[in-house]
């Protein structure tokens, strides 16, 4: 499995900066409070393993909550990279916006970064060569709280959609099994990429 993280913050001008997680967006379904509403998230019907991941991320053992997700089929070329996927003809990808339970958002980007580092370290030993996980620290707003959150992108390739889906399901399982136990503050990073435009 390829795993990586980065920080993508900056701009501050709506529409021309890096994406901002608006956690309590109009379609928000609070799975922490009512996990049985999982069926209202349409993406889970298209890819049921995503439901399992969302329930684990919002479950009693997780230090996180989720605000938004999506599922799509990128072009294989979009995911070309090392080790790759040149022979793959199908790709399936999803993302999930993640925030810490404590404080609703990460107060400092360093906290989010430390959390991502730990998650990446836990995932690095997984043998899923056709899968990729990328964690991106972003600015986040949750009601009155402003700070940082993490968007997790997970993708998998296969010779057909069904095999890509099998691999993505395995990646989701591995991702859920590797959730760090606490969203604790950590040491600052050396990998900050300040983006002022939507490049």
């Amino acid at each position: 499995m390829e795993v990586d993280w980065e920080i993508e913050v900056g701009g501050g001008t709506p529409g021309c900066g890096a994406p901002v997680i608006d956690a309590l967006w109009p379609g928000f379904v609070d799975l922490r409070q009512n996990p049985a509403r999982i069926g209202e998230i349409a993406e889970t019907a298209a890819f049921p393993p995503l439901a399992g991941l969302l329930l684990v991320l919002n479950g009693p053992a997780s230090p996180l909550w989720t605000s938004k997700c999506d599922l799509w089929e990128p072009e294989a070329a979009e995911l070309a990279g090392p080790g790759s996927r040149e022979s793959a003809s199908s790709v399936l990808a999803c993302y999930v916006d993640l925030l810490p339970l404590a404080g609703q958002v990460f107060a400092q980007w360093q906290q989010a970064e430390a959390f991502c580092r730990e998650w990446v370290a836990r995932l690095a030993s997984d043998r899923l060569p056709e899968c990729r996980v990328e964690l991106i620290v972003r600015q986040a707003i949750a009601g009155q709280a402003e700070g940082f959150g993490v968007t997790a992108y997970l993708s998998a390739t296969g010779q057909a959609r069904s095999t890509a889906a099998e691999s993505l399901a395995a990646a989701l399982d591995a991702f859920a099994a590797a959730i760090p136990s606490a969203a604790a503050p950590g040491k600052a990073a050396s990998k900050l990429q300040l983006k002022s435009t939507g490049e």
């Binding site: 049985a36 999982i38 998230i41 889970t44 439901a51 889906a165």
Partner: protein
Amino acid sequence: MIPEIHENVAIGDPAPGENSSSPGWFTPFEPRRGLTNGHLQTIVGNYLPRPAFRLSSVSEAVEVDPGDGSRVLCNCHWQAEAERAGRLTVVLVHGLEGSSDSRYIQGIAARAWAAGCNVVRMNMRNCGGTESLTPTLYHSGLSGDVGTVVRHYAGRFNLERVALVGYSMGGNLVLKLAGEWGSRPPLCAVAAVCPATDLAPGSDALHEPLNRPYEWNFLAGLLRRYARKAALFPGIYEPRKKIGPVRSIREFDNKILARYWGFRDADDYYFRAASARVVDRIAVPTLILHAQDDPFIRLLPETRAKLLANPHIAFVETRHGGHCAYLSRDPGNEIHWAEATVLRYLLAQAGPVHGS
């Protein structure tokens, strides 16, 4: 005669002016909003948080095979001694790679206890961390183990009424035992949720592309368990690495299970262990819940015909429900329709819980 129930919709949505003939224990299954996809029901059912299980229990390793000393671990919840014998005793049997602590087992155990029943949460051989209690592996044909547990507790406490409940593979075991026993007190009722009655098509269904994630999970558990058995009993089992690649449940059954249990091959095992062969001989009230959108349980037409022809069997086939999920529109913990239905059925068949 027990009413035959087939097709949930006919029961739950009678034509105008028509009275439903549903028995009192039955309520139609209406899937939770958005959960009309069998895979989604199955996965959500597996991960949906449940109330913490707080019942205290007494654990005992019951010998099921004096020949090799095999024992199975049972977690028991006994009502007060003075009334124990007269209470309905419910023996719960989990599914493949589950245990007595599987969430659905805990869920129905809590309900049965609250209704006044004695409850025995039985682990199959090796399950629940009990690999050291038996030199053997476990498989879908070991209905005798369930029977031994029933006899053990019925004899010790003079239990008047015992009911069996099995999920998936456990469903096959309790149906197989019921067919083998016919009418034999104190067995008074049986319930099977999504039972794997036809093992060969079920095993092959697990290898279908959409079902591979389930197969991987089962297979990973089975292979880890085999590795532990090989470490515990090196004189019996070859090291895992000498077995070679095992990429499917059928391959596991061919390479490992058939070899160490003396079946000719996986198909021989599937045939001999399937309750489908004996369901026509079931002679106690039996409830079978089967969802048409179960991702990997397959019911052969001839088995369905046997189930429908047996007047002792109430066969409830719903359109939705997934595999052992049955997440309904009911609020709170009542979302678990199968557990509520099974318990109502058992209580209706067994008579008053406070039997003495």
